[in-house]
């Protein structure tokens, strides 16, 4: 059974001047970066002024978009057809630099210097879990504020869960805002209440132990860092809240990207539910790297049984061929016949094991049409099994979320690493119809 899901139409979304931000999210490795870049190229070539914010793109893809300089500002992408009046800028997120910019823009020079040089700040900005997500949001806010583009396409950081993009910034915020940090900063205040007396005793014991465990200077670094940041925190949080609201605004569209696999679609499901709970506008699901077949009328079972027939035929013919060779050769009697039988069995084994069918496989002779056809059929059977499995996972998602529009993007045989590849993905995305229904 096939579920009738609404079709996600990407072109009207890209063409609509009201669309100002598109966020591509999804679990790890499903094609978020590829989709974001493909949308950017397509929108620009249809006449919009677009900026794409990518995060950790594959090396060759980055090169093809001219993203070789890591200077944290958008650069014009060469090779885009600008005849419709559009243009494409692209950048790679540098999270450390973005964090530095936030500090520099929000603190007076002396304080900013103190923060930037603080060792704890340095490890926080370089690697704290959630910093990348936080900074992606921050950069999005900055790009939006510059108002130079009429469309911003945002990629999201690789993470196992799509939800991290929404949750991580809050985690970082709540860490910087945490109870324990407050206690560290103001032990006297906390000790004022009777109920806290015990904790306070524990506190000094704990800070003592912590000092030994994490090192006194680290704790001091954290304290000075928090003190220096204290005045900034308000601004910091306000910015984060503003960006979060931006994500809820009508001009924003979320695209959830998923591969047609169980885990990825389960994540997509969570994310769809979460967006609804946060009243964030979902445009639809991009089902990426879907497999189809031009010969879908031929089932896997039928293809396999036909392949077996042909392999039997090929084996027989080969045996006959050998037998003739054998009688032709002088003195070749019993030995030759035995060899032929042995070889025939070996060939059959190889075929049923699904071993490579190669032009040079049979003693340098050209492959018989039967063997060749059998190989094509086995390949087709394998493809149809994949198609079937993907269809089942897709239908399960559709039955859970029948209201979510879906666009399917067929898998390219290779990976996507140049503008031509991005255009192809863009075309498939805009078409969106399933290759097989």
């Amino acid at each position: 059974m096939t579920w009738q899901t609404p079709l996600l139409r990407v072109d009207p979304l890209l063409a609509d001047p009201a669309t100002r931000i598109i966020v591509c999210c999804g679990s790890g490795g499903v094609g978020k970066t590829t989709t974001a870049a493909a949308l950017g190229v397509r929108a620009a070539e249809q006449g919009r002024r677009v900026v794409v914010l990518t995060i950790d793109p594959a090396r060759r893809l980055a090169q093809s978009m001219g993203l070789t300089e890591l200077d944290n500002t958008p650069r014009r992408v060469e090779g885009i057809d600008e005849s419709a009046g559009g243009r494409l800028d692209a950048m790679m997120l540098d999270m450390k630099r973005t964090f530095d910019e936030v500090v520099l823009n929000n603190a007076d020079p002396a304080r900013a210097k103190a923060i930037l040089e603080n060792p704890f700040y340095q490890s926080l900005s370089a690697g704290f879990a959630g910093t990348q997500e936080y900074m992606a949001m921050e950069k999005l806010g900055q790009l939006r504020a510059r108002d130079e583009w009429d469309l911003i396409v945002v990629d999201t950081p690789p993470s196992r869960s799509a939800l991290d993009f929404l949750d991580a910034p809050k985690r970082l915020g709540s860490f910087l805002d945490g109870k324990f940090i407050k206690l560290l900063m103001a032990p006297a205040k906390a000790g004022g209440r009777a109920g806290m007396l015990f904790l306070n005793a524990g506190m000094s014991m704990m800070t003592g132990a912590l000092n030994k465990v994490v090192g006194a200077h680290l704790l001091r670094d954290v304290q000075t860092f928090v003190a220096a940041m204290d005045t900034m925190f308000g601004g910091f949080r306000k910015r984060a809240d503003a960006t979060y609201r931006l994500l809820q605004a009508p001009g924003t569209a979320f695209l959830v990207v998923a591969a047609p696999e169980r885990d990825a679609l389960r994540e997509a499901s969570y994310f769809v539910e979460r967006l609804a709970a946060e009243t964030m506008p979902l445009a639809g699901l991009v089902l990426n790297r879907v497999h189809g077949s031009g010969a879908a009328q031929l089932t896997a079972e039928r293809a396999l049984s036909a392949a077996e027939q042909l392999e039997d035929l090929a084996a027989e013919e080969e045996d006959e061929g050998r037998a003739e060779d054998g009688t032709g050769a002088a003195g070749g009697t019993g030995d030759g016949a035995e060899d032929a039988a042995g070889d025939g069995a070996a060939a059959e084994d190889a075929a049923t094991d699904g071993a490579t069918v190669s032009g040079a496989a049979v003693d340098g002779q050209e492959l018989s049409p039967e063997s060749l056809a059998a190989g094509l059929l086995r390949l087709h059977a394998e493809r149809m099994q994949v198609v079937e499995r993907e269809r089942r996972t897709r239908d399960r998602f559709a039955s859970l979320h029948p209201e979510v529009p879906v666009a399917e993007v067929a898998a390219l045989p290779g990976d996507v690493h140049d503008l031509a590849g991005l255009r192809t993905v863009g075309e498939r995305l805009a078409d969106g119809r399933p290759a097989v229904t």
Partner: protein
């Protein structure tokens, strides 16, 4: 399939007892680590599978309840041995630790509620790492009694991804700034001794795709530069090669009619123009071309991996996803390739 450069010849168990499994996110670290723990548990042997990221991946994989912070038997291996599992929790490890050295008692638990433990492991990721690796190393070294036999013949860690693995393992550097003496310092020293010994090997899981291979190559270079012992490359989700490029080219070149005839012979309709068999030829050849393109791409990625000069193992793509049966299948495949 066999390892291109078999790590272990014959059936002698390898000297490696601590196997650390890393790889790009989503390439199959958890799955492969589980299969490896099963494969290493030959008859009469006992292995321990540990996870460190608080995701309950092992429990999910073996369809058991969440693992407690203690070792628990999770499976009997195909070779007859036993597999234990444990999820190491950094907060609990730190509490244990503080208890052991500073006798914090109830105050320790109260501080956990306050978020102090979380705070400590957050501000000092090196501390968190040394606690996690420390716990695993302790299991590697543990003996039944003083001078007795080892409790585990092998310990397999489902480790953080390639991007973080070197920092994670290089605990000495990480905690150098924290403690120059005292228990943490000693712990870091002990961990480093185990990690840099011949008993340890870091394995990298990859797919035959550009990004995972690139990460593997970069990861190996980083590990080597840090003096950490690199074990093998585990190529996961390998798909069978059914037709090679050359065959497809020949087929497309001049055998279309013959192929149509063959299809017709196998009962797939008429080979004449417009017949079913004739109509199948184009789409089937198109699929073959795509297949050949993928095979060619995979060949490039394989060549990059080969250049690393590491033992390489291959694990097939399981069509219906991974369940307990699937892990056993992968474990068998590892044993067939000489993993002991």
């Amino acid at each position: 399939m066999s390892a291109q450069q078999p790590a272990a010849s014959g059936t002698a168990p390898s000297p490696t007892r601590f196997h650390i499994v890393t790889g790009k996110g989503g390439t199959g670290k958890t799955t492969v680590a589980a299969a490896l723990a099963l494969a290493l548990a030959g008859k009469g042997r006992r292995t321990l599978l540990v996870e460190v990221e608080g995701r309950h991946g092992i429990a999910q994989l073996f369809e058991s309840g969440e693992l407690p912070y203690e070792e628990r038997k999770i499976a009997v291996a195909p070779g007859g041995g036993e597999v234990f599992g444990m999820a190491i929790d950094p907060e609990l490890a730190l509490l244990d630790y503080l208890e052991m050295f500073y006798k914090l008692g109830r105050a320790g638990r109260a501080l956990k509620k306050l978020g102090a433990i979380d705070f400590a492991t957050t501000v000092a990721p090196g501390l968190r790492d040394v606690l996690l690796t420390g716990k695993a190393c302790e299991a590697v070294r543990r003996r039944t009694s003083k001078g007795g036999t080892r409790v585990y013949d092998a310990v397999v860690m489902d480790a953080p991804p390639t991007g973080r693995i070197t920092r994670f393992l290089n605990v000495n550097d990480e905690v150098a700034g924290l403690a120059r003496f005292g228990p943490i310092h000693n712990q870091a020293q002990a961990v480093m001794r185990v990690l840099k010994s011949a008993e340890t090997a870091v394995h990298l899981v990859t797919l035959l795709e550009e990004m995972p291979v690139q990460e593997t190559v970069d990861g190996v270079a980083e590990l080597r530069a840090a003096g950490l012992p690199v074990g093998s490359v585990l190529v996961n989700m390998v798909r069978p090669v059914l037709l090679d490029e050359e065959t497809v080219r020949t087929a497309a070149a001049g055998h279309r009619t013959a192929v149509a005839k063959a299809l017709s012979q196998a009962g797939l309709g008429g080979a004449r123009r417009g017949g079913l068999a004739e109509r199948l030829v184009d789409p089937l050849l198109e699929q073959a071309r795509e297949h050949a393109e993928r095979v060619a791409l995979e060949k490039r990625e394989r060549a990059e991996l080969e250049a690393l000069g590491l033992p390489t193992y291959e694990l097939e793509l399981l069509g219906d996803g991974v369940d307990v049966g699937g892990i056993y299948r992968l474990a068998h495949a590892l044993r067939d390739q000489g993993v002991r």
